[in-house]
């Protein structure tokens, strides 16, 4: 089974289709960019918003699937503090801002905020959990930035054994797991409070010989 199809996060998917368009996102995006650049952003707004985003990304020389875009949206929604006031009046300055935000992703705390924010961001409105396809796409994006070697196994395991939506709890605990448990799983405690899906993942890893746990 190939695990490398480029999954599209659902927010991009929804931006692609005018019917389920989240106008407010774009409007507040404009606010974030500031009045000064109203002229700069206007051409994008005038277009169908989805294409506008795409075009914006092209101009920014950013892949729309780049996780840094999540960061952008978070900042713009005041979820993350925008600590420096950039004078963004040109596409170049926006680009500079992006590379700064990208560097921020390497910060643990900031990454955690983005990671946890992504769940609510990516899930369908009114749903409590995140569709598996979307979740897997998001994980691929996020863990591309913050490297976790088991991510492919995790996604493969979910598709083989779970094939259901992902709860917020499992989502957020997975980051804890990725951050705290070493690759030999030597500090993993089966008596702990890990979500059962993670317990089963550990079983899957050991049963399939992907990880040899040290005998203690």
């Amino acid at each position: 089974m190939s695990l490398k199809p480029k999954y599209l996060p659902s927010y991009f998917v929804s931006l692609r289709s005018p019917a389920s368009l989240d106008i407010s996102v774009f409007v507040s995006f404009k606010t974030f960019l500031g009045k000064k650049i109203i002229n700069f952003i206007d051409p994008y707004v005038d277009m169908i918003v989805v294409d506008g985003i795409s075009l914006l990304c092209t101009d920014l020389q950013v892949d729309p699937q780049d996780i840094v875009m999540v960061s952008v949206f978070m900042t713009q929604k005041n979820i993350l503090p925008s600590d420096i006031e950039f004078e963004i009046d040109t596409i170049e300055k926006f680009r500079e801002k992006l590379s700064y935000m990208r560097s921020e992703l390497r910060d643990d705390q900031r990454f955690r905020e983005i990671y946890n924010f992504s769940f609510g961001w990516a899930k369908e409105k009114g749903q409590k959990s995140l569709a598996l396809e979307t979740a897997i796409g998001m994980w691929q994006l996020l863990f591309a930035e913050w490297h976790w070697p088991l991510v492919d196994h995790w996604c493969q395991f979910l598709q083989l054994k779970h094939n259901k939506a992902i709860s917020r709890d499992t989502w957020s605990q997975l980051l804890e797991f990725a951050k705290t448990i070493d690759l030999q799983l030597s500090n993993y405690d089966e008596e702990g409070a890990w979500p059962y899906l993670i317990d089963e993942f550990v079983e899957y890893l050991t049963e399939n010989g992907i990880v040899q746990r040290p005998q203690n």
């Binding site: 959990s129 917020r168 709890d169 499992t170 008596e191 409070a193 059962y196």
Partner: protein, 718 residues
């Protein structure tokens, strides 16, 4: 008095004098006529040594005298002691040895006094072994080394003889053992290596061979008592108990009740001595029980090859055997082990192991419920007196205590009880109520409330029915022309059944209407749900030869009635007209056309039902009976029961978690799981994974959240 120059004594001359004294001593020891030593004799001998040691070199004979001292012993031992020991055997040899040892000690005492001066200067200065030690060492090297094995064997055989009840000379035994101790000159090595190790080995072997002499205290020398009790029982307890043929296992296997009682009495004296005994007891019972499971498993798999129509018989036998096993070992606990709580616990733990294993895909909860059903139903496989039934029920309920899935038992039991009650298969109402009382005592009121409700429902239903008959008699216009009996049940008490599924034949629709009218005169706001699948009909079938009364289920009757309107019907026509599922249609058509009574002819005439079959009424059917019952095999309800129980468990776990968190507000994961298991343990043993899933579900539903800083801690969200 002036000091005069002492005359030098040469060695030969001095030793000759000493030799006389030594010979005298030997004669005394040998019991030959000889006068006692006087103090002059002693003085002279001592002085001679003194003088010989204090002469100027080369006439200082200290070294020579030291050697001659030793040689004297050696000479005496070789010429007298060893020959006398070699000609004696067994107990006589032991006596000789004791005597020789005593003599030797006397000899050492005297000789070392004569030679005492050597000890004071020569030996001290040269750090040589002192005289006393030299003397005793001689005996050890020359006598002890030669005879120790023979002595050991003789002693052990003496002990063995006493174990067999013979009187033995205990003083002798003690004296011999003293030699083993004393010969070590202050350390116990000789005793331990040359004797004790052998004794323990022998004793272990002995008691393994002959378990009947467990009361060691009465039979062994006092000297041994402390030692042996400690060494033999305490240190070697496990080795003893685990002896393959005659240890505790062996005794249990061979049902040596008296020996086990003795073992209990003995081991209860040692601190924690009963722990290993109870462990072995537990192991033994577990093995026996597991063997029963295996046996039942084997016979079940053999049976599968044959026919499946005697289902339950093997399982019945299995439960019987488990009950017998329990009777047997409960008696052991009560009698041999004097009702000690440790053994009650061991028995419980053992039964919990194999009672929860299940046989051939059936859980033990189901087996027990089936067992009860067989006892309680009419014409069950068990033919028992009332007393025997009571007693057996009592025992089944006792076994239930070991089953962790009590909820599963309850659900199976309810299913079977429902069949007994609704199809009038219950043999005896008193027994039904009696087992419920027993279950209530053991598992609490909640456990039996539904079952009791079912039994009560049936009494009420009978009253209700006579009310209905009165109503029909007084309202002649309402009478549908068909006798109708309705059993009104309370929804919550009974297992859930499919309702309103069947397309009822018009004749029966009328009946239902009439009853509904009647029921409304009695109660308001009560909704009747009709469960056709549980109905029975008696119908008259007019065949070419004669009319036969058929006792069938409502399903079967509805299918047969279709043939009043059409001669031939296809499978799909029947299915549409009845509005039943494929499973049901296949089942009932099979009972009417492929089983013993072929009321319907099937095309093609095969043994199984297929969806392309066509059916017609078999007008030629005949039977010598005027009334026949056409059974419809019940659907296997096992899967549904298990699903229902699983669902109930999810609710139960949810409720338990919420209850705990509501009172504790903040709680660690492990504690939460533990408390949850504890709360629910009386009904079932929740799986950790299941609890985890429920916790996660409650997080999603915002009843709980994880602590921000510690994901192992949960908070209750009010």
């Amino acid at each position: 008095m002036s000091m005069h120059e002492r005359k030098t004594i040469d060695l030969e001359q001095g030793w000759e004098f000493m030799q006389k004294g030594i010979t005298k001593l030997k004669n005394i020891l040998e019991g030959l006529p000889e006068s006692q030593f006087s103090s002059e004799d002693y003085m002279m001998l001592y002085t001679t040594i003194y003088n010989m040691c204090t002469q100027k070199p080369p006439h200082d004979y200290s070294q020579q005298l030291y050697d001659k001292y030793r040689e004297s012993f050696e000479e005496y031992i070789t010429s007298m002691v060893l020959p006398s020991l070699r000609v004696k055997h067994d107990e006589f040899m032991l006596r000789e040895l004791v005597k020789r040892w005593l003599n030797h000690k006397v000899m050492v005492r005297w000789l070392s006094r004569f030679f005492h001066y050597l000890d004071r200067y020569f030996i001290t200065r040269r750090s040589l072994p002192p005289l006393n030690e030299v003397g005793l060492t001689c005996f050890r090297d020359l006598v002890y080394q030669e005879v120790k094995d023979k002595v050991k064997d003789a002693v052990i055989s003496l002990i063995d003889r006493e174990r067999e009840g013979e009187q033995i000379d205990r003083a002798l035994l003690k004296n011999v053992l003293d030699i083993f101790v004393e010969i070590g000159l202050g350390n116990m090595e000789c005793y331990e290596n040359d004797f004790e190790a052998h004794l323990l080995k022998d004793t272990a072997a002995y008691y393994s061979r002959k378990a009947s002499n467990w009361i060691l205290e009465d039979s062994c020398p006092d000297y041994m008592l402390k030692k042996v009790q400690h060494e033999l029982l305490y240190v070697n307890a496990s080795q003893l108990l685990e002896k393959e043929h005659s240890g505790c296992h062996g005794l249990l296997r061979d049902d040596k009740v008296d020996d086990l009682s003795r073992m209990y009495r003995l081991f209860c004296r040692i601190q924690r001595g009963l722990d290993p005994v109870s462990q072995i007891f537990k192991q033994h019972v577990t093995i026996e029980g597991t063997a029963l499971v295996k046996q039942a498993e084997d016979s079940a798999s053999n049976k599968k090859a044959e026919k499946r129509d005697v289902v339950g018989l093997q399982e019945q036998v299995f439960v019987r055997k488990v009950i017998e096993l329990h009777d047997k070992y409960l008696a052991y606990v009560n009698d041999c082990f004097q009702n000690h709580s440790l053994f009650h616990k061991a028995l419980k733990e053992a039964f919990e192991v194999f009672c929860n294993k299940g046989v051939a895909g059936s859980s033990s909860a189901e087996l027990l419920a089936t067992f009860c059903d067989n006892i309680l139903k009419k014409g069950g496989s068990e033919k028992l007196s009332d007393e025997a039934i009571e007693e057996t029920l009592e025992k089944v309920v006792k076994l239930l205590a070991y089953i962790s899935d009590k909820d599963l038992f309850a659900e199976f039991y309810r299913k079977k009880l429902a069949r007994r009650l609704l199809f009038d298969k219950s043999a005896n109402d008193d027994h039904e109520r009696s087992i419920l009382t027993k279950l209530k005592q053991q598992c609490g009121g909640q456990f039996t409330s539904k079952m009791e409700g079912m039994v009560t429902d049936l009494t009420l239903a009978r009253e209700n029915q006579s009310g209905f008959e009165d109503y029909l008699n007084s309202n002649a216009h309402a009478n549908p022309g068909i006798d109708l009996t309705v059993t009104v049940l309370t929804t919550g008490f009974w297992p859930s059944y499919k309702s309103f599924d069947l397309n009822l034949p018009v004749e029966m629709v009328k009946c239902v209407e009439v009853f509904r009218e009647f029921y409304q005169t009695k109660t308001k706001h009560r909704k009747l749900t009709w469960i056709y699948s549980l109905g029975t009909c008696n119908i008259n079938a007019k065949f070419e030869h004669k009319t036969i009364e058929l006792i069938v289920t409502t399903y079967q009757a509805a299918a047969l009635l279709l043939f009043n309107a059409s001669d031939r019907l296809s499978y799909s026509e029947i299915m549409t007209q009845l509005n039943l599922t494929d499973d049901d249609v296949i089942r009932l058509l099979h009972s009417l056309s492929c089983a013993k009574y072929k009321i319907l002819n099937k095309e093609p005439n095969t043994k199984t039902i297929s969806s392309t079959d066509v059916f017609e009424f078999n007008n030629k059917f005949n039977d010598k009976m005027r009334r026949i019952k056409i059974p419809l095999p019940p659907v296997d309800e096992k899967k549904k029961v298990i699903e229902d129980v699983d669902k109930d468990r999810r609710y139960a776990i949810d409720a338990s978690i919420v209850r705990i968190m509501k009172s504790r507000k903040v709680l660690g994961h492990q504690q939460l799981v533990m408390e949850c298991v504890e709360q629910l343990g009386r009904m079932f043993k929740p799986d950790f994974k299941a609890i985890k899933k429920r916790i996660e579900d409650l997080i999603t539903r915002d009843y709980l959240e994880r602590d921000k800083d510690n994901p192992n801690i949960f908070r209750y969200l009010a």
